[in-house]
Symmetry: C2
Amino acid sequence: MLSVGLETGYAMKKHVEGNLSHFWQESYGQIYPVLRRLEDEGMVRRRKSAATPGPRRNAYLLTARGERELRGWLAEAPELPIPRMELLLKLSFGERADAGVCIEHVREHRTMCERDLELFDEMEPPLEAAALAHRNVAFGLLTLRYGRLLREAELRWCDEAVGRLAALDNEHESARTGEASR
Amino acid sequence: MLSVGLETGYAMKKHVEGNLSHFWQESYGQIYPVLRRLEDEGMVRRRKSAATPGPRRNAYLLTARGERELRGWLAEAPELPIPRMELLLKLSFGERADAGVCIEHVREHRTMCERDLELFDEMEPPLEAAALAHRNVAFGLLTLRYGRLLREAELRWCDEAVGRLAALDNEHESARTGEASR
DNA sequence: CTAGCCATGTAATCCGTTACATGATTGG
DNA sequence: CCAATCATGTAACGGATTACATGGCTAG
């Protein structure tokens, strides 16, 4: 983040919240200590704040060493996340749940997907325009496209899942009432 | 897991690895202590092993209390995972990376998606058949369908992303060589 | 004047993995 | 007989969040 002009821990946190929140998060309890550690390791340097008005701020810069390290890190294969999707875990034990709770969970998830997609609808066009002028925006757009395509797929899955769950409920019901429903 | 007949910590771990691995994981360091804690809380009971041959095993059963707790947990809204997708993080700082590394990362990811999809191709038809006979299998199938739809979407994103990244590389190149490439 | 934001930081805590230790049984 | 698998467990460690503490500045 220092490499793209974010100088303070506070600014970094805001950047993560505002621009990377659909695939990353960081807390102050993480950011500030790491900044210190990086300073000790010679990756970053603290800029002496020349009596700026306003609250005390620690502005950092990337050193040449830090820049090399960054390049190296970017070139390493990214680790893939170990998914921990509680919705799916609950669903896979759905047989033990009371009737309707599975469908309800999936519907809830669907609503969340729709909300995200609306956000993407607002964010994408201006970004697409800005990407033509600023190379770095184009990279951000990539991650937004990822979020959109994934949420769209999840939305389709939700609809399919609700269908399957409803069918299961019906089967169950007709079995319970002794198939009398015909 | 006790509710579906998995009695030992070992069996639970294997079940997670074999059936839930695309959206969950657990380690022994987690499982065994939790089992003890659940026993203290009266959620589970240790079955006395009647001199079974083979290695010592601690088999557990769900108590009525545990079953109530399970039902309650299943009914609670699942937390959504805080995604931490290193690929996207690196991509969003892709401007700072050496040429080609972004495309390479995305290609790698694409390969992984394809591998997963092949696995789904093998697993899905037999499960779909088994789901007609066993209700509980139908719930497992739901999670597998989720995995498939998501990976398919990721695959499409990879292709799009490679296209966009290639275009960015070309722009950059022609800018560097003074637009001489026409 | 006060609520809200800018800004920094630490300590407690939690969740979970990794590494290690142990030992019985079984199939080749 | 030896490797693999069944089976259980603990200690150390690590990464990250949460809660808390502090304080200046600014806009209404």
